[in-house]
């Protein structure tokens, strides 16, 4: 943000003081000093009013676009998946937190559902980390970015959590989970290399595990074609039940599975933030523990589920 004319003068005074006395350490100077100084003559370049001219933030997310997609997704959320939350009150109203969830469905409907529910009922934006594959896709990549998608780079996650205190959603299983067969449903894959734990530790943010039930049945993967996947440069090429049922429409038509989303108690790590590196064994241990929490919650929810379609 830019300061206006008179506000800038002291900074300029400091700058010049530092320029003429190179020994002066700028970090030690109280920014209040020099406020009473006569403003230094300098053509003020800030005749230009500070305007962003766009509600697209520096991550590429647009609240306006999110509102549009929320309006489009609401019927699906409410009437098709009939999403129900448990433990919603465990989500923090402020401060950064890393939401860690299980991932499922060939084109996973869990990410939009989680983001939709939180933005609607908690009123906080959620940034979803995903493979950089999205960034290279025309149109889709732009829409993904406008709706809060961010490339899963450790530094991106750190900035979002630590510097800006946002909610960040991550699926540590990645495409290993969305590309798994229907037979393997609700059996969590490896949680990457535990990178998400390390980022949360570094950012000093808690991890909030989330278990999602229903996404597996919304778009089950029956077969996979590694050859097509390779040819199209995709992580997997699934033949889904939806495709068999609805033909090409099956790419976008979900089955009406009942969604239950359970928020688990936040995991705080008892370590100092902003360290260069963290103990690998500790990171792996925590990652495995969080994976266990989500897996156990899923088994518990499945035990109580009477019907895939009615919950």
């Amino acid at each position: 943000m830019m300061a206006d004319g008179p506000e800038r003068a002291p900074e300029r005074a400091l700058e010049i003081a530092a320029a003429t006395h190179p020994d002066v350490d700028l970090t030690e100077i109280d920014p209040g000093i020099g406020r009473d100084l006569v403003p230094l003559a300098r053509p003020a370049p800030e005749t230009v009013e500070e305007v962003r001219r766009s509600d697209v933030d520096q991550w590429g997310r647009s609240e306006h676009f999110r509102a549009l997609t929320r309006r489009a997704f609401e019927p699906l959320y409410k009437h098709w998946f009939r999403v129900e939350w448990e433990g919603f009150e465990l989500l923090p109203e402020e401060g950064g937190a890393l939401l860690v969830a299980n991932h499922a469905g060939a084109i996973p409907p869990d990410a939009p559902s989680i983001m939709h529910g939180i933005e609607k009922d908690l009123g906080r934006p959620v940034y979803g980390l995903a493979e950089n594959l999205f960034r290279a896709l025309p149109v889709v990549g732009t829409l993904w970015s406008r709706s809060g998608g961010v490339t899963a780079h450790p530094d991106n996650a750190y900035r979002l959590l630590h510097d800006e205190g946002h909610l960040v959603l991550v699926f540590p299983e990645g495409t290993k989970a969305t590309g798994k067969h229907y037979n393997d449903r609700y059996r969590l894959r490896r949680f990457g290399r535990g990178g998400f734990v390390e980022i949360a530790m570094r950012a000093g943010a808690p991890v909030i595990p989330i278990a999602v039930m229903g996404a597996e049945e919304a778009m089950p993967v029956l077969f996979k074609s590694p050859r097509l996947a390779k040819a199209l440069n995709l992580p997997y090429f699934p033949i889904t039940a939806n495709m068999l049922a609805f033909g090409p429409l099956g790419l976008v038509a979900y089955l009406p599975a009942k969604f239950r989303i359970r928020v688990l108690p936040p995991v705080h790590f008892d370590v100092a933030p902003n360290q260069e590196r963290y103990s690998r064994s500790r990171v792996m241990e925590e990652s495995e523990r969080i994976r266990g929490m989500v897996q156990d919650a899923l088994y518990d929810m499945l035990r109580q589920r009477r019907s895939v379609w009615f919950g």
């Binding site: 009013e49 305007v51 962003r52 950089n132 896709l137 732009t142």
Partner: protein
Amino acid sequence: MRALVTGLSTYWGGRVAQALEQRSDVEVVVGVDTRDPRTPLERTEFVRTDSSHSILARIVRATQVDTIVHTHLVVDSTRATSRTLHEINVIGTMNLLAAAGAPSSPVRKVVLKSSGLVYGANKADPYFFREDMPRTGPATTPVERSLLEVEGFVRDFADDNPHVDVSLLRFANVLGVDIETPFTAALRRPVVPEILGFDPRLQFVHEDDVVEALMYSINNDIPGVYNVGADGNLPWSKVCAIVGKRRVALPFVFTNLAAEPARLLRLWDLPPEAMQILRFGRTIDNTRYKRAGFHYSYTTASTIEAFAQALRLAGTIGDSSPSYRYEREVEDFFRHSPAVVRPD
């Protein structure tokens, strides 16, 4: 201070020399370049050299300069063939650093103007590049390769010469009416290219902030590598909207091939590295230089706004700054003739 400015006839070299002339503690300003200066200068001594600065060791020894400002790095690959690019950037910097690091060299400070091009623009990039982050893909264009090579020399030079303060500034894409870059040139056209389906986040820096940033490194002892880019970023579509230009979509495959007719027609001349920016965008993290005490006058949004306003003015009244032609005899007369009365 006795200063030497390379690339005197480039926009940056000229502006830096003008700023140095204003300082009373700067005794001597020497400027070198292959072409005549294009900015009016009062007391800067101009020496014509070849592009690879092979004469620089002699100039440094003869003038006993203690500060070298190297603005003569070509970052716009449309201006030079890859051969001259190599000659100017790599060989030129090598000769410059050799001159600065010669035994008993009086040089105590070197400031270089590099570019954010060294980070590239790839899909795996972090959204904000810090100075210590490596690029995520190999350098594919000659200008990027040459700048990386230059930065390697600079690192070695700084290691070998701990008594010299070396500041390397990496600039974001510069915007301003007085400077011509592939982006400013494209934004002056009635239609501006975009890549179909991509709307990346772009960051700019105002031309005045670039000069201020170079001067800040010259005036202060802050050795190190710094990113210089204005706060924030904006989607390319918004950049074009602020400047008031319509966009024309290029296909997302064979983009460079599709842009070729526009290059031949001289509509836009966006080199491959600029096309990468139109696809993935690039934002560099400017906090390190701010922490060193530098203040920006413009944000990315106000940089674009200022550019748009200046374009509108230029569209009405034409070029507002009078053109300047360097004439050696005239300049020599004003600088050295005993007939000229000079205030002390």
